[in-house]
Amino acid sequence: MGHYLLRRLLIAIPSLLGISVVLFTVLALAPGDPFSEMALNPNIPPEVQAALRKHFGLDDPIWQRYFRWLVAMLHGDWGFSFISRVDVDTLIWQRVPVTLAVIGISQVLALLIALPVGIYSAARPYSWFDRIASTLALVGFSLPTFFTGLLLILLFSIKLDWLPFVYRGDLTATGWDWWVQQFKQSIMPITVLGLFQAAGWTRYVRSATLDVIRLDFVTTARSKGLRERAVILKHVVRNAMIPVVTLVALTMPQVFGGAVVTEQIFRVPGIGSLLIDAIQRNDTPVVMAATFVLACLVILFNLLADLLYGWLDPRISYR
């Protein structure tokens, strides 16, 4: 097990290097530059722009810039934002709590809906419950978040005037009032994201469970006289979870990456909105750091999923 872990971690190093080379090259080759916003301001002459480009080393060859970035990264220096003139890690850490809170809770909500609904549907396939759940899942999966988000805003913020549609990172209220306000401003983004994710996962959990529920060992368990509840939870679900774990584990990095569209609509100051702003302004160091962290997380959660398989199914061994 320890040997396996070490080997996997060592394999991850060249993958990460490869990813960083590709990311850096693509970003460097992409058109646009961080100071284009100045171009239309006649009070800032082109020489100032040129001086800034030089100051930040934008005119050096790509390979030089890449190695400078790599060496800094190895020293734990994530880079320096062209636009904010702040260290990139400061920018990212500011956004982590809100991202984890909003996106994290929405994923938990999705799981809390998807697991019971999916399993119950599979246990009683083609029942009324299953049909309604499947239809709703299909509808939820087909409606993009920008649509449901706007719909909720129109209904709850504009028509009914119950909820604010601008999310604020630091509320001034304290105590009980803080929780009320926090709930009011979070409920819409969390619902939009959670329901969308839940719809997809429900379908997935249902089909994975259906695959297992027909197998002979389930019939054996039932004929032993085990209660239906025990059959489903102990025998079916545990075996059905392997593909679901893969899916969920690979979705987890997205929790960190944020949800770009939803964050834009509700102005949630998460990493997704930081990333999209950085991309729009060609703030390469921020884009590079955020995407690179995402790449690391994907590799890490992949590894975690592989380790979880062994726990779920002892027949899988690590060599």
Binding site: L40, P42, I44, V48, R53, I83, Q94, V166, R168
Partner: protein, 601 residues
């Protein structure tokens, strides 16, 4: 008086105004004479105002009688500030954020006149602030002004800001604001003098640059500028003190109890929330009233009008210097000359012909563009120079006429070909028209294409992603400085009321070329000895009235020679909550006057 002089002698005008000021000539007579000679009455009175004849100046009415008590002020910026050092500001959003904490010597009001903030008074010839030889300006500073940390604000701070911004290693974006200044000298604790490199009428360019405290930044000049802790925790003289900042997301401030102006500020706290899109920002201010102020609402006017119907807020349009224009490429974009396309030495095969440019000008339906595309966000104008109104020329008329365009082209020998497109000497009248991707610009492109088709001109439209089009990366052929097309459309921002920088867009030595890495601002590569001469005269003309006349003459030359087609001038659009009273200006940051803002009960 001026009647016996040639209609275009700008010096004649200035002398007339001098006479009025000295009491030699009754004001009315001067106006009548002017109107009869070449200008309309409004311009004549504007000239008088500019020459220093006191006009009835409306006093700003600030009602609150005590400091604070206004509760929170909530502002929504769809692009939030990303940094808080005014000398590093990349865009207007950053300058706006700085305005909460930092202040300048003065700010420009809605009419483009300076109003003092940290200065005790605005320098003028009369009070001796502006040297008669135009080589220096002396500012007297307001006394009893303190930084948020209690240290006094003095002339040393002003001198320091000059040195800080002009050090190339600091990489300050404000360095250009000081570029006509040779040095700053402290006369006494509250007097500072800027010496100019040469005699200049533009003494005010650095007046509205926000000032940072010397004692917190002096250790961080030049290469170390990025390490200053105060870059992220501003300590200024402004009406609000810094509380919290998350770049691009949220900026918060609280009332500064020792602010230097009486009874100000009114609000107990301020916040700027960033992110999202302009339409929902407009909605939060105009429709739900969740926010008190919405910045730069670039939203279709029709949508704004609909949102305004809820009466939670109103839209305020502040005319400034921004002009949307269609530029002709006066050089040849299709053939290499001296190793580059669009070389300033070449001439455009079709557009060098006056008749074609005149026809193209006649084919632009500005009134429809104003009415159906821009609304309040773009006012139709035939002039390049529109604001402040004292600089607006009355001589150029907006004319849209397909018939006249056809007549002009017929007379010039352009004959309709088999497919309806005109031809002459084997050349088809087909032009490539590029702009940035932006729904409003694409609508204008299409309107223009249709009317051009009616006159037998075929326009091929091209839209380029804004980040590429406005890029400073000269390696990209689609960048607007390279201008590898026949026509291109974009806006130019005239932030300062003095249009000196603005007018440089057409002087010959600014022509963008490979030699200057396409950094010249004359991107249309227009060349006119007459224009160069007028510009040269305006840059050294110390008499404000004569200078105004020169600037108007330059505008008229541009329009008469069809060097460029102005489309609309674009006021800044803000959303203001129902109770908020906010003196806004199109010539300065929206928040530059935030100390004067208050909420009506």
């Amino acid at each position: 008086m001026a009647n016996d002089r040639p209609a275009f002698d700008p010096y004649a005008l200035g002398e007339g105004a001098e006479d009025v000021r000295a009491g030699r000539l009754p004001r009315r007579e001067f106006s009548v004479g002017l109107a009869a000679s070449l200008l309309g009455a409004p311009v004549a009175s504007a000239l008088l105002a500019f020459a220093g004849v006191a006009a009835a100046q409306p006093q700003l009415s600030y009602k609150p009688t005590k400091r604070g008590g206004g509760g929170p002020l909530k502002m929504l910026f769809w692009q939030g500030p990303t940094l808080l050092n005014p000398h590093f500001a990349i865009g207007a959003k950053d300058q706006e954020g700085c305005c909460l904490f930092y202040e300048a010597l003065a700010r420009y009001d809605a009419d483009g006149n300076l109003a003092p903030i940290l200065a005790a008074a605005i320098p003028s010839r009369a009070n001796g602030g502006i040297a008669a030889d135009g080589r220096s300006v002396t500012w007297t500073l307001k006394k009893e002004v303190r930084w948020h940390d209690g240290r006094p604000f003095t002339a040393d701070d002003v001198v320091f800001n000059y040195g800080y911004a002009t050090d190339l290693q600091t990489a300050a974006t404000t360095s250009a604001d000081y570029d006509n200044i040779a040095g700053a000298t402290r006369i006494d604790a509250h007097t500072v003098r800027f010496e100019f490199k040469k005699a200049t009428p533009i003494w005010d360019r650095s007046a509205n640059v926000a000032l940072v405290p010397k004692h917190l930044f002096e250790a961080y000049v030049g290469g170390r500028s990025r390490d200053a802790p105060a870059n992220l925790r501003p300590v200024g003289t402004g009406p609000y003190r810094f509380v919290d900042f998350k770049p691009g997301d949220l900026l918060r401030g609280e009332i500064h109890r020792d602010y230097h102006a009486a009874n100000r500020p009114h609000f107990d706290s301020v916040e700027i929330k960033g992110g999202g899109d302009a339409t929902s920002a407009a909605r939060a201010v105009l429709q739900t009233g969740e926010y008190d102020f919405g910045w730069n609402l670039q939203v279709e006017d029709e949508v704004l009008t609909r949102l305004e119907a809820s009466r939670k807020g109103r839209v305020v349009a502040c005319p400034g210097g921004d002009v949307e224009m269609i530029q002709f490429n006066h050089s040849d974009p299709w053939n290499e000359v001296d190793g580059e396309r669009s070389s300033p030495r070449s001439r455009h095969p079709i557009l060098s012909e006056d008749a074609v440019r005149e026809a193209l000008t006649l084919l632009l339906d500005r009134k429809s563009i104003h009415a159906f595309v821009y609304g309040r966000a773009g006012v139709a104008t035939p002039n390049f120079l529109n604001n402040p109104s004292r600089l607006n020329s009355p001589n150029i008329k907006d004319e849209f006429s397909v018939e006249r365009a056809n007549a002009v082209l017929d007379a010039a020998g352009w004959k309709h070909g088999a497919d309806g497109v005109r031809e002459k000497q084997g050349r088809r009248l087909k032009l490539l028209f590029q702009t940035s991707i932006n729904s409003v610009r694409q609508k204008v492109q299409n309107i223009y294409k249709q009317s051009c088709a009616k006159a037998g001109i075929e326009l091929e439209l091209k839209a380029i992603a804004a980040s590429v089009f406005f890029s400073s990366d000269v390696g990209n052929p689609d960048m607007y400085g390279r201008f590898l097309a026949d026509l291109q459309m974009h806006a130019i921002a005239g932030r300062a009321p003095d249009p000196d920088v603005f007018m440089q867009w057409f002087v010959s030595w600014q022509a963008a070329s490979k030699a200057n890495k396409w950094q010249g601002v004359n991107r249309s590569r227009w060349k006119s000895d007459e224009y160069d001469r007028l510009y040269g005269a305006s840059a050294s003309e110390l008499d404000a009235t004569k200078r105004t006349a020169l600037l108007i003459a330059m505008n008229d030359l541009l329009c008469r020679e069809h060097a460029v087609i102005p489309v609309v001038y674009r006021p800044s659009i803000y959303g203001v909550g129902r109770q908020l009273v906010a003196p806004l200006s199109g010539w300065d940051n929206a928040l530059s006057g935030i100390a004067e803002w208050y909420a009506e009960a």
